[in-house]
Symmetry: C2
Subunit: 271 residues, 2 copies
């Protein structure tokens, strides 16, 4: 598959890049259908927030142009954008004038079992906990060792995702998904002010639910609340929504609100 660095075809990166040295950068994983990058405004909005918080200077119009052009070339699949702070010298101090380096990579859409969306999935109970870091919470940054370790906890195909808690035992998210639960008709997802990635599909579903008049709540979630949920599902901007049918000894039916939002997510990813 093709890849670009700063708008030019390339398959290699400078060894001095601070993305490699320190994970000093951000990324976005964008579904592409019929040559279009999907949920592009939300991806760009999260990227801009990340650039602002990490103070990575970036021409956002140029990023948008490149994403659109790359998606047109890719046609179908997944487009990954990595934005690093560019080359560094020795040491953590960053050049405040440095421009972000744009790395675009294309790949085929992942071939997930159709049952994930239809029957629902089992969540693996990860023992790896998310650490509390408000300065990075919500960002899709390149420091992902917690996810790498959590994902290494299970190899069996029987678990399509894993659930991660924070050090206080709060329910936060999947390894590569956000989590929602439904209780008495209210759509609930974790507050990500301490840790976690504020997913693009999560934001879109909160928006869609509010548009439909469905009450939503962004709050701290305990394992006990999970236990009493009527419906549980995970989501991301590539696969849409997977109902969760089991986690450890808990189980849930695939519920009507999950199916309703799944139909909406499917339409968004089938644009």
């Amino acid at each position: 598959m093709d890849s670009w660095v700063d708008g030019q075809p390339a398959d290699a990166l400078s060894l001095k890049d601070r993305g490699l040295a320190y994970g000093d950068g951000l990324f976005e994983t964008i579904a592409v259908r019929r040559g279009q990058p999907l949920l592009l405004d939300r991806h760009l909005s999260r990227l801009m927030d990340g650039c602002s918080r990490l103070r990575i200077a970036t021409d956002h119009d140029l990023v948008r142009e490149e994403l659109v052009a790359f998606a047109a070339m890719l046609g179908e699949g997944v487009l990954k954008l990595i934005l690093t702070r560019g080359d560094g010298l020795r040491g953590y101090a960053a050049d405040p004038q440095a421009q972000g380096r744009r790395i675009l990579q294309g790949s085929a859409a992942p071939a997930y079992p159709i049952d994930n969306a239809e029957q629902g999935i089992r969540l693996f109970p990860c023992v790896t906990r998310l650490s509390r870091q408000p300065l990075l919470a919500g960002l899709k940054h390149l420091n992902r060792l917690e996810q790498v370790i959590a994902r290494s906890e299970w190899q069996d195909a029987g678990h399509a995702e894993g659930l991660m808690l924070d050090h206080a035992g709060r329910v936060i998210e999947g390894v590569f998904s956000n989590l929602f639960l439904v209780r008495d008709g209210v759509l609930i997802t974790a507050d990500l002010k301490r840790c976690g990635v504020a997913g693009v599909m999560r934001a879109e579903l909160l928006f869609q639910a509010e548009s439909l008049g469905m009450p939503t709540q962004v709050t701290d979630i305990t394992l006990e609340q999970l236990q009493w949920a009527d419906e549980v599902f995970v989501c991301n901007s590539v696969y849409g929504i997977w109902p969760v049918c089991a986690y450890a000894a808990l189980s849930w039916p695939v519920g009507p609100l999950t199916r309703k939002l799944q139909t909406i997510a499917r339409a968004l990813l089938d644009a």
Copy 2:
């Protein structure tokens, strides 16, 4: 300056490297004098510990051989080794068979002001806190955004280092150094079981102090304990020891134990 990837001269890296994608790897920064990599056994020992904890398969004899050969070529300066989990596909799951990728880069020794070692330095009081993550604590891994953010807190040359606390307010380390304090003749440094990097010079100084019959303590340190310290210094394996003369409103004289250990560190880095 020269650089090698897996033993071959190279100045670029595969865009698929998991070091870039997730910070999935480790690094060591090694002083080189007269063609010799200094404190090599301690650097390799920490690297092996990191590979074992992150389950990165690595031929450690080969790593040693390459470090020795690269240092001989470099002559004088600093050798940086980055060890990543190699190329990945999409997703966090790692290939358990994957071999670590070895990236070696040489640079000139940093030109720190001589006053840092002679007169001592002022520590900047960083507001960026280190997050608690026992699974990564002590490792010199590639997830370094906390250090990048902390180092961006000051630009003035009047602060040669910054002090980082954890979220509970414990005194942990410098941004690129470990911290020691001396109180009633006891050499004290922070317990790094929750966060922090277990520095090679820190380990060496604890060993040297014990060899000299100097009592040592590895424990949690509060700001109040720092306030009552007789001597304070920071250290790493490139610059050795810098006495700390001030932090916020606190100040300390350059003490005799600091000078004694500084002489030892200097000898180790002048091999």
